[in-house]
Symmetry: C2
């Protein structure tokens, strides 16, 4: 039962409370037993029962819950670096798509990749995310778009979940786009999703959630309703990619369907904001994607002011967000969306857990998982103000240290 | 005379040529002798004379010239993290200033700090910048604003330059703002600059350049002319902070005064762009500052299209740009300013050297300094597309490896 002391600032990030309420404790101590938090509070109040336990010093650093990236497309084939340059030079996306680029090229590369290849790449990404303090990652399928290749992506995620150390949450996104082979019969593809893929995936326990991309170029609100209602009968929770380019009332649809989250929301309407606030739906902001796309970000302040919990994630994918740097996404949530550092942190901890209905992670309170990060900074404001790489000193998952900086890497 | 082989891509970044011309060589080799580059080219063409020399493998990675951060305010006292949160919450800068914050608080903290304290902090920043591949740093004074404290800042820079390993270029920025004790007699402060500080600083060889912040809240174009003309008589080159908040014709003024660079330029006019293009003045873009300030960035594409060389730097300072992450600045130059990765790279190498008239660094060509960086990426586009920390594998200055990742840190 280790005791971590000499913590300058500890943020408990309670699930309850508003966006900026992160439960700061100065001069704190943290006690854990096995995989779980046993006690947290001021160092002077450490209970007698723990007084004789082995102590470790955080050396005046800051402790936060393990960061949760609640929206990624982690396993994919290929990259699209050439498109990045093309887009900067002004080539329209439709022209890139005509040349065989865009999401179709990722679908092609993902289908062509073996499960072993996809696993190896995703394994490398997760390993690098440890040094960013990311302890849980939500992973979407959606680059297979047929039975074989959607199952392949989801089996990669299951293997990663079994391997650890990160916790992996899988989401089925067969309704990402309509694959080209079904472009003249989209109803047939939707039947494939509802009649074959969803039952198979739910039966194998390969995902907890089903996600639909609601957009003019993807699925209509009615199609999303159909797909997510079937998913619900198979025990899969609902998530939505909503209101990214066009306001189709996706936020309100998420509220209506009792979705755990609606993600993107760059173009969300006031009506949808009100509906999400009433339903308690989490809004997932993806500021890396909006920056890469040259788009205005989700109006996070309006959502927060209306009482919608706002999570912040990377959207890591090879097209619109080829970065898994959640620290960078949080910094952009501050600089581009006027979220405070405390609000951004809550969006990648307690509210990120809420985006897939986990109530055992995202906060540092007794009986929650002992997932936490030691940061080389004296407080949360300073962490996202003085942006620099290498601020994570140690990453702990379920009470085990899974990554630590060597002493020579630490700044003075 | 070491030979580095198995370089997937090497960017020579020649001083001549347009913004996007970075002299890419695939399957390259690099030979250096002592502090200088001896030969660069395709690996198959390595001259007989070097064939027997000891070889090292770059293992299929990418090599670029050492990165040059050509605009920082490196040595300062205190931080302003609290202001960061205040500004996000909507507190106006004038209100923050009224509470004793803003630049005045940094001047106060810098005056209060000893030379040893300032040196220790700046030393730590430079050490961390090595792992970002930054081999040369331009450092401005301007938080002392009196004889004693301006000299103190510049002596810190001289000590850092003597210590190495980075090359340090010092710039005198006594004309940063008018200090509060002279607010009723700005002419007296300008006389202090022209009659006492500039002669003293030039006499001690403490700076090569003199910089003036031209802005409604700082110095007028006429005042800048006066100061920089005196500086020129003492052998100091000219630089300007120009057109950041207000278009005062700062770009054209820089061209008129034959300044090495005009920096910021978020509000530059077409007339100033044309004047800078004609004079060959370097425009230094500071995308971290504009993002932290919630401002539109310099219209880099318009400048590039007009033929102005655009450098990219961090502006590292505790107020508007509390980050020395030049990699991040380059990524923002792409995502926010539509510069291509090649154009951004040229802006932090050859054109950054040009921003302070150095012709021995910033490019990998024979007799230039052997300052280079090995990147864990296969090409320049991929480097700034797939943004992630830890891409620098090795940093070399004057032929000496001054920083290297341990093998365990490298991704697979």
């Amino acid at each position: 039962m280790p005791v971590l002391t000499d913590i300058a600032t500890l943020a408990t990030c309670p699930p309850e409370g508003g966006q900026g309420e992160i439960g700061l404790i100065e001069n704190a101590a943290l006690v854990w037993e096995g995989e779980e938090v046993a006690w947290v509070g001021s160092e002077v109040d450490v209970p007698e029962a723990y007084a004789a336990m082995p102590r470790e010093s955080a050396e005046g650093r800051t402790v936060i819950p393990g960061l949760i990236d609640c929206h990624t497309h982690l396993a994919f084939g290929g990259w699209r670096a050439g498109e990045f340059e093309q887009k900067l030079l002004g080539t329209p996306y439709l022209e890139i798509a005509r040349q065989g680029g865009g999401i179709a090229s990722t679908v092609k590369a993902t289908r062509a990749a073996s499960e072993t290849e996809l696993h190896g790449r995703a394994r490398g990404f997760l390993d690098e995310m440890l040094c960013l303090g990311v302890t849980t990652v939500e992973c979407k399928s959606g680059y297979g778009l047929n039975m074989e290749d959607e199952l392949k992506q989801l089996r990669v995620y299951r293997q990663l979940a079994e391997e650890g150390p990160q916790r992996v949450e899988s989401t089925f996104l067969g309704a990402h786009v309509v694959p080209s082979e079904f472009k003249d019969d989209r109803a047939a593809y939707i039947r494939l999703l509802t009649d074959e893929l969803i039952p198979q995936i739910a039966g194998e326990g390969l995902a907890h959630f089903c996600d639909v991309f609601v957009e003019d170029t993807a699925y209509s609100p009615d199609e999303a309703r159909t797909i997510l209602n079937v998913a619900a009968t198979h025990g899969l929770g609902a998530k939505l990619h909503a209101d990214q380019i066009t306001d189709l009332g996706g936020g309100a649809l998420a509220a209506e369907l009792n979705a755990a989250s609606a993600d993107h929301l760059e173009c969300i309407s006031e009506e949808s904001i009100a509906a999400m606030a009433k339903a308690g739906t989490v809004a997932v902001s993806l500021p890396l994607a909006t920056l890469y796309l040259g788009q205005e970000p989700m109006p996070a302040r309006r959502l927060i002011d209306a009482g919608v919990p706002v999570a912040v994630a990377t959207d890591f994918n090879p097209g619109s967000a080829p970065s898994y740097d959640l620290h960078l996404a949080l910094w952009l949530a501050c600089t581009r969306q006027r979220m405070t550092p405390a609000e951004a942190l809550k969006g990648a901890t307690a509210y990120a857990a809420k985006a897939f209905l986990r109530n055992d992670i995202g906060s540092l309170q007794p009986v929650m998982k002992a997932d936490f990060v030691v940061l080389d900074t004296t407080n949360i404001n300073h962490w996202l103000y003085h942006f620099r790489p290498g601020t994570v000193v140690r990453t702990v998952i379920g009470g085990e240290t899974v990554w630590a900086q060597s002493p020579s890497q630490l700044s003075s």
